[in-house]
Symmetry: C2
Subunit: 186 residues, 2 copies
Amino acid sequence: MLNAALDELADSGYAALSVEGVAQRAGVHPATIRRRWRTVEGIMRDALTHKGATEILIPDTGSLQQDLRLLAQAIGSFYTASRNHAFLAGVVSAASLDPSAGDALRDTIAERLRLASAVVHHAVERGELPPDTDAEETIAAMSAPFYYRMLISRRPLDPELPRISADAAYHAARAGAFSLARNDHK
Amino acid sequence: MLNAALDELADSGYAALSVEGVAQRAGVHPATIRRRWRTVEGIMRDALTHKGATEILIPDTGSLQQDLRLLAQAIGSFYTASRNHAFLAGVVSAASLDPSAGDALRDTIAERLRLASAVVHHAVERGELPPDTDAEETIAAMSAPFYYRMLISRRPLDPELPRISADAAYHAARAGAFSLARNDHK
């Protein structure tokens, strides 16, 4: 039924997503959907938790710049698929409309940031970065331009964005922009 | 009536926003609201266009790092107000639900990026940045972490974020991460 919801979302968009539409696509009675999820937002919340469990490959090439580029390419490839773009729009809307969907999104992203921050920890161990680098802030900075492009400036993702956002985070981290205990408050 | 909509949004959140609620707060009949805007998304679209027209002060301190910090502080201060945070959530939801709201958001942001990119052009003229720096990409990189924090990782904005995001964009730009014509495709 979650797959039916994601197919319906990809084909019709979030505005047209309804418990009835998902039921029809899944070939079940709307009451069956309603027993499991009261609302469209509830469907999005569980779809997110389900997708969030998908295994993420964390690169470990020995080079932070390369690791960040691979992570960024994975984000770019994922959202270039229009069904995943639609899924994101649905999840973010659901998060604004239903606190439990908002909590699910927050938890999913926290776990992904925690996993991906391994590439920053490895870079610190290799001496590539200042020891007090905030790993999750570094990964957030690499990721943020994709979401800004999709949700805020609303322009297409282009093939250059992964390299731009990875290299920007890399150079910023090298320069100490994500250091936790900077005394440079000027 | 737009102010009534924004007050209602700030007090009740986007999930509870309705044509009826806005009408009650504005002291008019719901039909009056419906004549002007068919939907809640239509209200958000016009509120965005209205707010988008607010004058933005573009700093020109003679230092790119300082200019970016001032722009970032303005973003941080704006969204620290919970009514503006709620407004953003409403606008982004409306943009997913109604293409005309999506277009209004895209146009508003395009105009703001165009205006703010003056600080990058000035830095290029001063020789602070490579001449082929993509000015709007630089401003987008400085702005993106705020929206990522509010909409995706869903953690509070903290007072450090403006400095972190401004300095990250600054160092990335200095290192050429936003250069348009990089031959470094390794």
